[in-house]
């Protein structure tokens, strides 16, 4: 059964349809949200939950101009942007969320490159970061990522090449710094 059919069924009152949609997308969406929110799983959960609330609220007004997947990803991306903006205005003084990359378990588990990539990608402009994460997100093809970003596929590919070059450059600089520091007595 297609996503759109499930959404229509949910709009008519079938909660099981929503559960089915969640089963298809929720884990992917949390992963993407975590990537967009610097690995903050707590914020990723908030973003995805708020996104579901919007899906629930506007399910009846969904007109099918795009696929459900595109719509859902756009909602999650916008929620993540809102959360980042909100957090930028309200510093997290009292919150002590478990950051994935600060967790001892993850530090042990994660490869060094992944940490470097996470650090390097955090320095990129938000649009570039979003492009990279979407393009390498397991739930999306490049065509679907282009639809989510509402840009032509060719544009996405050229921007992706540029973004990757930027990321590699950043990583290479980091590596050079690393080697220099290692050789310094």
């Amino acid at each position: 059964m297609s996503d759109e059919t499930l959404l229509a069924r949910f709009a008519k009152g079938d909660d099981a349809a929503l559960a089915e949609l969640a089963g298809r997308y929720e884990s992917s969406l949390i992963g993407l949200a975590a990537g967009l929110l610097d690995g903050r799983l707590d914020l990723a959960h908030d973003a995805v939950q708020e996104s579901w609330m919007r899906v629930i609220k506007y399910a009846k007004s969904f007109e099918g101009r795009s696929s459900f997947r595109t719509w859902m990803y756009r909602i999650v991306i916008n929620r993540c942007k809102d959360l980042r903006d909100r957090r930028a205005k309200e510093p997290l003084a009292d919150e002590s969320p478990p950051k994935i990359d600060e967790s001892p378990l993850r530090l042990v588990a994660e490869h060094a490159l992944q940490q470097d990539v996470r650090a390097a990608i955090g320095l990129l402009p938000p649009a570039t970061r979003l492009l990279l994460l979407l393009c390498y997100h397991q739930g999306l093809t490049h065509t679907q990522a282009a639809q989510v970003l509402d840009i032509p596929l060719g544009t996405l590919k050229s921007r992706l090449a540029a973004a990757l070059a930027q990321l590699r450059e950043s990583l290479r600089d980091k590596e050079t710094d690393h080697d220099t520091n290692a050789h310094t007595p």
């Binding site: 929503l18 559960a19 949609l21 969640a22 929720e26 884990s27 992917s28 949390i30 992963g31 993407l32 975590a34 990537g35 967009l36 690995g39 799983l41 990723a44 959960h45 995805v48 939950q49 708020e50 996104s51 579901w52 609330m53 919007r54 899906v55 629930i56 609220k57 506007y58 969904f62 099918g64 101009r65 795009s66 595109t70 719509w71 756009r74 909602i75 809102d82 490869h111 060094a112 490159l113 992944q114 470097d116 990539v117 996470r118 990608i121 990279l132 994460l133 393009c135 390498y136 997100h137 397991q138 739930g139 990757l164 990321l167 590699r168 990583l171 290479r172 980091k174 590596e175 690393h178």
Partner: protein
């Protein structure tokens, strides 16, 4: 990190790992979608259809209404009162002028002298300022119509057969008994290149009559007439005079009350009194000068012999024409610039209060709209 880590595949894998799926919870009761569903149903409200019905609440509506009401009240109260104040100032000035015997055309010292023993005929009433004469017989009720004070000037160029004879005739035109006189006169050259020039000051009411008489003396080459309205100047002088006189009375009263004050203080007050009186005299002199200008029109007459050829403009070349055109354009552009600057200053300073009010209103509206837009962006249905 070593060089092998920078292999494209490794980077892409690391990128994919950054957003790899994360299981929220296998338990449906704690799954995010389930929590969202419960939260949505708990706070279920009917969808609002309009941004305005959704966001503008009672306090905001009351604020907007209060702003609009304030603006309308200000417009309704201030504008008419300004107009009324202006009108009443004019009426008061006219009435004051009439009651105090300060009508320019009739009571300036020079005019008193010229009118002495000879009541003006009905036809000699000032034609230039019909509302000036506010005698009860002619104007039983005061009207807000401003008493116009107009300075008339005219110029006429004549070609005559006998310059000397015409010159003599013209010198007889002013009626000295009514204060008219010849301001300047000159007769230059020899026949046939003789030319004459005169400046007559005749009663404003006789300007038309005098010009008609002049036209019969020869061939009119050119003629022009101007009227300069100095009502505002006169009203300003009157107001300043009343103010200075009131200050003088107050200072005198102060001097009377403090007769036993120290000498130095008395001297200071007297010095100020002297200054006030000097200002009063200066204003009275200006007022009388303005009265003379209004009462007597100026006619500049140029006489030229019929035999004398008219000056012919030199046949200038294209260079002269170009220079003249550029000069004219320069002058015109400067005048336009001046007019524009004056307009801007008048608009900005004259409407300063309204600009401020409008600015505040615009600021309030802008903030409201910004709040609405933010709320809309938060609440609007996500784009598909």
């Amino acid at each position: 990190m070593n060089a092998s880590n920078l292999h494209p595949d490794a980077i892409e894998q690391a990128l994919a790992d950054l957003s790899k799926p994360v299981q929220a919870s296998a338990d449906a009761s704690v799954a995010l979608w389930h929590a969202a569903l419960r939260a949505s149903r708990a706070s279920a409200t009917p969808p609002r259809r309009s941004v305005f019905t959704r966001e503008i609440r009672l306090p905001q509506l009351a604020t907007i209404a209060a702003c609009l009401l304030l603006f309308l009240l200000a417009s309704a109260i201030i504008l008419p009162s300004l107009g009324k104040a202006r009108s009443s100032a004019r009426v008061a000035t006219s009435a004051q002028v009439a009651s105090d015997g300060l009508v320019m055309e009739r009571t300036s010292p020079m005019q008193l002298k010229m009118m002495e023993g000879r009541p003006p005929p009905a036809s000699t009433a000032p034609v230039s300022s019909p509302a000036i004469d506010l005698s009860p017989a002619q104007s039983p009720s005061l009207t807000p119509a401003p008493a116009r004070q107009v300075v008339h000037k005219a110029a006429i160029d004549l070609r005559v057969t006998d310059v000397r004879g015409t010159f003599a005739k013209i010198t007889l035109l002013p009626n000295e008994a009514t204060g008219e006189y010849i301001e300047t006169s000159s007769l230059t050259g020899e026949e046939p290149n003789i030319a004459a020039s005169l400046t007559l000051r005749v009663a404003a009411s006789r300007l038309s009559e005098t010009l008609n008489a002049l036209r019969t003396l020869g061939t009119v080459i050119s003629e022009s007439a101007t009227g300069q309205d100095i009502t505002d100047t006169v009203m300003d002088l009157e107001a300043r005079l009343r103010n200075e006189e009131r200050i003088e009375r107050e200072v005198l009263a102060l001097l009377d009350k403090r007769a036993d004050s120290p000498l130095s203080e008395v001297l200071t007050v007297r010095t100020q009194l002297n200054d006030i009186r000097a200002r009063i005299e200066a204003i009275k002199a200006q007022r009388e000068r303005a009265g003379r200008m209004v009462a007597l029109a100026t006619i500049v007459i140029n006489l030229r012999s019929q035999a004398q050829p008219l000056p012919v403009a030199e046949d200038s070349g294209i260079a002269d024409y170009f220079i003249k055109s550029v000069s004219d354009a320069w002058q015109t552009s400067l005048r336009t610039l001046s007019d524009t600057a004056a307009f801007l200053i008048r608009t900005f300073l004259g409407g300063l209060v309204w600009w401020l009010l409008l600015g505040l209103l615009a600021l309030g509206l802008w903030r409201l709209i910004r709040r609405l837009v933010r709320a809309q962006s938060r609440e609007a249905a996500p784009t598909e």
